[in-house]
Symmetry: C2
Subunit: 358 residues, 2 copies
């Protein structure tokens, strides 16, 4: 897969007539603040990528004035103009109540077939029909929701179905009572998610507001006032934070976060170590919380081989932090979004998958 992108007035990527003629599918990863459009060939390879800032909360014109159509045309019009009518599959917040069409949540346990069965369609003004993947809801005392991640998750499974399958997590007690393999998938970010797959279904998941809380603490509390950004990320300070969360974290993050300040006041943590220390603290608390909720179902974090989906640098930080928790087998999965869009499109019959015949 190649993703060629160039910048031009909010949309990056130049059209290419030859590529458009080989195209069989447009896939959209349409979130709150961005729209990423992928053009696929018949082998599921990405021919072209266009990236726009026209997320559903940042449309070029208001939604009620045709904002979704405008954003879609801006991102994909050149492809549609040059090729034949292409099927379009979209995932993410575009299917939320604030999106182009509401694609109600599928409840856990959520299989790929359940997602496909709940796809909702919307017709653009240009006549093209978009198939929108629903999000997933886990009901309960603390409900959890995802939109977009479900597509990445099935993309990550797809990636692993290939050459080098990672060992699934080994649930200590459940291994004897059930044959279904469990897999742990982590999606670090603003609202980090940790997903337990049972077989090829999303069984349950947890959301940690780690990225957003980090941003709020550094920009809007006393902790940010003494911080200086280091020139390069300080891995030692990061790991120190992880260790403090793991070993001294029982008072909770509301308490340990203050040590960013007091270690500074007592000359034990330099200003330019404080950002990465706090990042390590928060990610350490996230992993300690994950460890605790997994343990309640007799799954040992250290025995898991999680797959990580997200930006490389952030996934690498999580890989280092996981190792502090004895979890050394984490693997970073690339291009999960593109793979997931393709995989669901095949399952939904929008395209014919490799190895299948029309």
């Amino acid at each position: 897969m190649t993703a060629r992108t160039t910048a031009a007035h909010g949309v990056r990527g130049k059209p290419d007539a030859a590529k458009a003629k080989r195209a069989v599918l447009i896939g959209l990863d349409w979130g709150t603040t961005s729209l990423r459009a992928y053009l696929f060939d018949a082998a599921g390879e990405v021919l072209d990528t266009r990236i726009s800032t026209a997320g559903i909360m940042n449309l070029p014109v208001p939604a009620e004035e045709g904002g979704f159509d405008a954003a879609f045309d801006e991102a994909c019009g050149v492809w549609l103009a040059q090729g034949s009518a292409l099927p379009v599959l979209a995932a993410g917040m575009v299917g939320s109540a604030q999106g182009w069409v509401s694609a109600p949540y599928v409840e856990t346990p959520a299989s790929e077939d359940a997602l496909v069965a709940s796809i909702v369609k919307v017709r653009a003004a240009c006549g093209v029909e978009l198939a929108v993947v629903p999000g997933v809801l886990e009901p309960g005392a603390l409900p959890n929701v995802m939109r977009g991640e479900e597509t990445q998750i099935f993309g990550a499974l797809g990636a692993q179905a290939g050459a080098h399958a990672a060992p699934a997590s080994r649930p200590a007690a459940q291994a004897q009572t059930q044959a279904v393999a469990q897999t742990l998938i982590g999606l670090p970010g603003t609202h980090a998610k940790w997903v337990v797959m049972e077989g090829a279904s999303i069984a349950r998941f947890y959301t940690f507001m780690t990225g957003e809380v980090y941003a709020a603490l550094t920009a809007h509390t006393i902790l940010g006032r003494t911080m200086k950004r280091p020139v390069v990320p300080d891995t030692a300070a990061f790991l120190r934070g992880v260790t403090v969360a793991r070993e001294h974290g029982c008072a909770g993050v509301l308490a340990t976060a203050f040590s960013t300040r007091t270690l500074g006041l007592t000359d034990q943590l330099a200003a330019d170590e404080q950002p990465d220390y706090l990042s390590g603290l928060l990610i350490g608390h996230e992993l300690a919380g994950l460890e605790a909720v997994l343990a309640r179902r007799d799954v040992e974090l250290a025995a898991c081989a999680p797959r990580l989906i997200g930006a490389d640098a952030l996934c690498e930080r999580y890989r280092l932090a996981l190792a502090q928790f004895g979890c050394g087998g984490a693997q970073i999965v690339h291009r999960a979004t593109e793979r997931g869009l393709w995989r669901i499109a095949v399952r939904a019959g929008l395209v014919v998958g490799a190895g299948q015949t029309a």
Copy 2:
């Protein structure tokens, strides 16, 4: 004690010549964003109170241009002009590195005598000498610091030395091995503190950034976007948050905080319930963390009768939350700051205490 205050150009409170003549001490609670000045008579009763916004980060003119003198004159000049030379005792951030004079921290265990022995003096331009109470530092992997609270804490002890002493906490295991009574004191607020007293010494303490994190989450994350402030605080929503933190909090507050949003998305939490629910969640996590750190030293939170120092409405919320943790004996202590300033001034020999002779 009466605290008569009126507003006038940042300083509230009118001078009274008769009162000034009976005065024996000025006490200052001088923090980051406010300066509260108390005029005491020989019985330790507050004759007059003046409240100013001239905290050390909000002086009327910059510190290097005499800002501390200006703020002090503005708050206390009328008292000093009318009475004889009065001793002045100050507590709070005025003794920090950014204050009028640096009063280095006293380390735990910190007795009142240790505080008094480390008082630092500074002479104002008007010739009056101020005695500044030091803060307290608990060294360790997660250091803790306080400035100002130490004075309130000894004030709360003083209040209890009177008529109705609350039962001290009953440490389950330590009761047999040591005779020193332990008392738990809570100071809710921006940076909430929980202090374990052993006898009349500050043995150890914990800081929770609960108030500041609440403000950051509501103003600067997605959680605030769906919130509406209720007309009156919603106690049921608050207690629901406390219960969720207590019963489903093992993933940590980074995870449970997101339920403020997902319960809203699933129509289980109205917009005007969300602020108090989140407040309950955070205070619940604070108390769960406190319970955990106390338990490591065999102290059971439910068996404690904490004293609470702070704004009445906030202390009342904590009293309700503590009851959810089985801790029903919390008492709100009033006027801890004034009592503490008086008590330390007596101990320091600045004034002659009731029952003493000159």
